[in-house]
């Protein structure tokens, strides 16, 4: 009897959740003017269009040097943004961690900075910076930098908090100074995880750099936008393919590093 009632209650909860989701879905589709049937119906058509128009032709291959140039710029931009953000995040991470942080106030400050820079979208940063820095690589770099600091700080705080306390305690017992503890116990212990997060951030940043590039007119995003707006779909295809190849190569490389160090 009791069991049946429990099951009944559980089923009821499930039904309520599903109904609620259905309602919100309906409201969202009304609000955004989205028609799921229409969307699905055009999907095959869209794929046919993609396969027949987005092809790399010989003529577009001539543009390869320009594209490669921009691609390299984008990758370098993402790496530079990540590594320089790492330096700042390391300080913020140590400040913000519960286990090795020095004061509560600094910890809150670090978390606040991280939350702020992470939650203001990269797009907003790109647009703000574009106004004063103009259309150059530095704008893209800074937009990625701010977002990376937010993300990496959160990741580092978690990594530091999770690493074992024993090494820190042992060093404390020997009378090591705070700096020594950080340099000799905390950082070496967290390094593999940190490198893994850094590599992940680089992958993310390359994808974000395309978006930032479209908005700020830099790097591969700009090239894409240029071809896109001039209806040069073969160029669009070539840019897309080169981004895909670059991202997959970098993912494979960082997966390999991760496998060895973790």
């Amino acid at each position: 009897m009791n069991e049946n009632r429990m099951r009944y209650k559980k089923n009821q909860q499930m039904i309520v959740v599903v109904l609620l989701l259905a309602l919100v879905t309906y409201l969202s589709s009304v609000l955004t003017d989205f028609n799921i049937l229409h969307g699905l119906a055009t999907l095959p058509e869209a794929f046919i269009w993609i396969f027949s128009n987005l092809v790399v032709t010989e003529e577009s291959l001539e543009r390869m040097p320009t594209i490669l140039d921009k691609l390299v710029e984008t990758i370098l931009m993402s790496i530079a943004a990540t590594t320089t953000a790492t330096i700042l995040s390391l300080f913020l991470g140590v400040m913000g961690s519960k286990s090795v942080g020095t004061s509560k106030l600094l910890g809150i400050l670090a978390r606040f900075i991280a939350s702020l820079s992470r939650n203001i979208p990269v797009v907003a940063w790109a647009l703000i910076l574009l106004l004063s820095f103009g259309q150059n690589s530095l704008t893209g770099y800074l937009a990625l930098f701010v977002g990376s600091v937010g993300f990496l700080t959160r990741a580092f705080i978690e990594v530091i908090d999770e690493s074992s306390q024993s090494a820190v305690e042992a060093l404390q017992a020997t009378g090591a100074t705070y700096i020594q503890i950080i340099m000799k116990a905390v950082i070496p212990e967290c390094l593999p995880q940190m490198i893994s997060w850094i590599l992940f951030m680089i992958e993310t940043n390359i994808r974000n750099a395309t978006l930032v590039g479209i908005l700020t007119g830099t790097g591969i995003g700009y090239t894409f936008d240029l071809y896109y707006k001039t209806l040069n779909y073969h160029g669009v295809a070539l840019v897309t393919v080169s981004i895909v190849v670059a991202v997959i190569l970098i993912e494979l490389l960082s997966n390999h590093v991760r496998k060895v160090i973790l």
């Binding site: 703000i128 004063s132 150059n136 395309t210 479209i214 830099t218």
Partner: protein, 282 residues
């Protein structure tokens, strides 16, 4: 951690004192390469039209105007909430559709439910989807079928699926083998196993992952509005900063996005702490 405490032995049984070396080497090499590339990046950057001093001063001024004197000028509060609603709607639609499709795909990607090479095909397919940035998917769909909000949702759907299938299939793989075997022994079919064993034991987990993705999709939807003209608050942000140069409005919009993003983050952190073990992050 393991590198320092784990002892590797050589074939003759002696402790290999070089055991940590490969790990150390790779880590040092990675750091070195990244440093070199960073330096190179700064040398190769295109600095056209840049006046650092003026730019920094201007940014400081811009930020002050944005954050200290926010105001709406091109549209009222009602319109602002409507636009925020559209962004949330786009995020929600791509998340919920993504979750439903991912559920079925994840069933075929979980190693304990299907054979090895269907898993492999699904994974390669997802790796390819992930490699194309979301904004390119949206733009490609926009030209391919000229869909409006449909292009945005379909484009965002792709990455949601790539993300959720990975999360879901890992959850399915953790389901107790005993339960599946017991059901199989009673002659239950594949669908019985899914409905009565897999789904009940992973349901809350799946819901949490879906919400985490919703949090990400909100940020993506803002970006899509700005870059691909998919509408919503992101599009207003783009208009305010690139067409009207109205910093006060940019500030107000940024605040609105910030408040929503922080609310979503707090909810997802609570969910994470409640449903996920400490080992799973992000």
């Amino acid at each position: 951690m393991q590198a320092t405490t784990h002892m590797k032995r050589r074939s003759d049984g002696r402790i290999s004192i070089k055991s940590g070396n490969e790990v150390q080497l790779i880590m040092q090499l990675t750091i070195l390469i990244l440093t070199v590339l960073t330096v190179l990046a700064f040398l190769f950057f295109d600095y056209t039209g840049l006046d650092i001093q003026r730019a920094i001063k201007e940014t400081a001024y811009n930020l002050r105007v944005m954050f200290l004197e926010p105001a709406l000028s091109h549209f009222g509060w009602g319109e602002a909430f409507h636009q925020v609603g559209i962004t949330l709607g786009l995020a929600f639609l791509s998340t919920i559709l993504g979750a439903v499709l991912s559920f079925f795909l994840a069933l075929s990607a979980a190693t304990n439910l299907t054979n090895e090479w269907i898993t492999k095909i699904v994974r390669i397919f997802l790796a390819f989807i992930r490699a194309v940035p979301t904004v390119l998917w949206v733009l490609i769909f926009a030209i391919a079928a000229g869909l409006g909000s449909e292009a945005a949702v379909l484009g965002m759907l792709f990455h949601s699926i790539a993300y959720l299938v990975k999360a879901f299939s890992e959850a399915f793989e953790e389901v107790d083998k005993g339960i599946i075997e017991a059901l199989r022994a009673t002659g239950a079919g594949w669908w019985h196993i899914v409905v009565h064993a897999i789904l009940p034991s992973t349901f809350t987990y799946l819901m949490s992952w879906t919400f985490l993705r919703f949090e990400i999709n909100f940020a993506v939807a803002v970006a899509m509005g700005a870059a691909a003209g998919a509408g919503g608050i992101g599009f207003e942000l783009f208009m305010a900063s690139s067409f009207y140069f109205d910093l006060r409005e940019v500030g107000m919009i940024t605040y609105m996005i910030l408040v929503l993003a922080i609310i979503l983050e707090v909810i997802s952190t609570l969910l994470k702490n409640r449903y996920f073990p400490a080992s799973i992050k992000n």
